[in-house]
Symmetry: C2
Subunit: 210 residues, 2 copies
DNA sequence: GTTTAATTGAACGATAGCGTTCAGTAACAT
DNA sequence: ATGTTACTGAACGCTATCGTTCAATTAAAC
């Protein structure tokens, strides 16, 4: 059986691959799909345009490869939901903190913006993004809340709905502001006191009254 | 004093103006700023390209005129906050309902998407949009909540913060889903029962305990 | 009817990107 | 060293758009 090993060849330069994807990301994010220039990507990546077309067959293809790769990266950066043995309030605060840190990072904001725009022309990428990011986070959160309901630290209710409420009450108007102003200043607008207030309100309506 | 009335002239055809703006909106929304074609706009509006350049001096200019006009329209469609003399719960439900109707309308979703993408190149339009839409809604909501706090139907608290909590708890994950899937099916996903649940949770933590 | 301004259609130069071709070079496996 | 493959740079045809110009036409105000 052939292991696929060819007898004599020059191996693909992985560094170039990575450089192309990374520069593609920058280019697409800055200019949008239509205005992005393959030649600029090639120049920035120190690569010949032909090389790009050898690896990815078209602009379309390069774009979706880049989105796929970004989604993979994003999955690795989702808010930390490790279950330390702490009080419920601590646990929720920790989640709120890391969720807001995640959502307010410039990379995520820019990615979100670009995807929102491109989804008109590439609906399947909207799905891809939703599954890699928001929905994943939602199900993690739902699971955590369901756990707490079982443990009796949260009152019984629809955990999915509770997750949405928690997520929403923490975000408030923040994400809207972020999406339409300078991404580089977004993270600074996260105030711990506001997170605590949101979590406490959530607890007021969901905590078991003992 | 000259009233500005010129002696003999052919008046601007307002219908053409409107057609241009309306077609510009469609074109920019569908293709994004960079890929939008002035000539296509002209063709769709049954207008000469020269006419467009006579009215708006450049593509940039046309784009911001269009955004300005859209923002004006949007202001007229903001959620209804008329104060009928009803129960607090009814009042909040009414707000929730009309807010979600507003936010889930395909026009608003598409506008939101496009602005989010374009704000990278036109930061000042992000401000324009925020002031015309989200911030306006936030201050209306804040005012309503402050009123209710004064009336004693809501417990005393930071009304601004409470507004954010109400807004967030109602939205949940909905807006994220909307932004990345088919805008034309968004409105159908609004479930009255979910709105009621959200409002009730809000009330659980904000209503005065009598 | 005369004047004034809005509007048109067609053409133009300039720019820019895509996607392809080709001949040549570089890097690796054997 | 030899063969195979990755990669390069330059050029090409093609298409599209912008923004401008021009002479000609149209519509209202006077």
């Amino acid at each position: 059986m052939d292991t696929g090993k060819r007898l004599a060849h020059r191996p693909v330069d992985q560094a170039k691959q990575d450089a192309i994807l990374s520069c593609a990301r920058a280019e697409f994010f800055e200019h949008g799909y239509a205005a992005a220039s393959i030649e600029r990507i090639a120049a920035n990546a120190n690569v010949s345009k032909v090389t790009i077309y050898n690896h990815f067959q078209s602009k379309e293809n390069l774009f979706s490869a880049m989105v796929g790769s970004e989604c993979r990266v994003m999955r690795g950066q989702l808010p930390d939901m490790s279950k330390a043995e702490t009080s419920l309030r601590e646990e929720l605060l920790h989640f709120a903190q890391s969720m807001m840190e995640f959502l307010s990072s410039p990379d995520i904001i820019r990615f979100d913006r670009r995807m929102a725009a491109e989804v008109e022309r590439h609906p399947e990428m909207g799905e891809l993004f939703l599954n890699a990011g928001p929905r994943r986070m939602k199900s993690m959160l739902t699971e955590m809340i369901a756990d707490e309901m079982e443990r009796g630290r949260l009152a019984n209710a629809d955990p999915q709905e509770a997750a949405a409420h928690l997520y929403g009450i923490i975000k408030g108007f923040a994400d809207v502001e972020w999406r339409f102003s300078d991404p580089d200043t977004a993270a600074a607008s996260v105030k711990p006191a506001a997170l605590a207030a949101a979590v406490d309100r959530f607890l007021l309506s969901y905590q078991t009254s003992k």
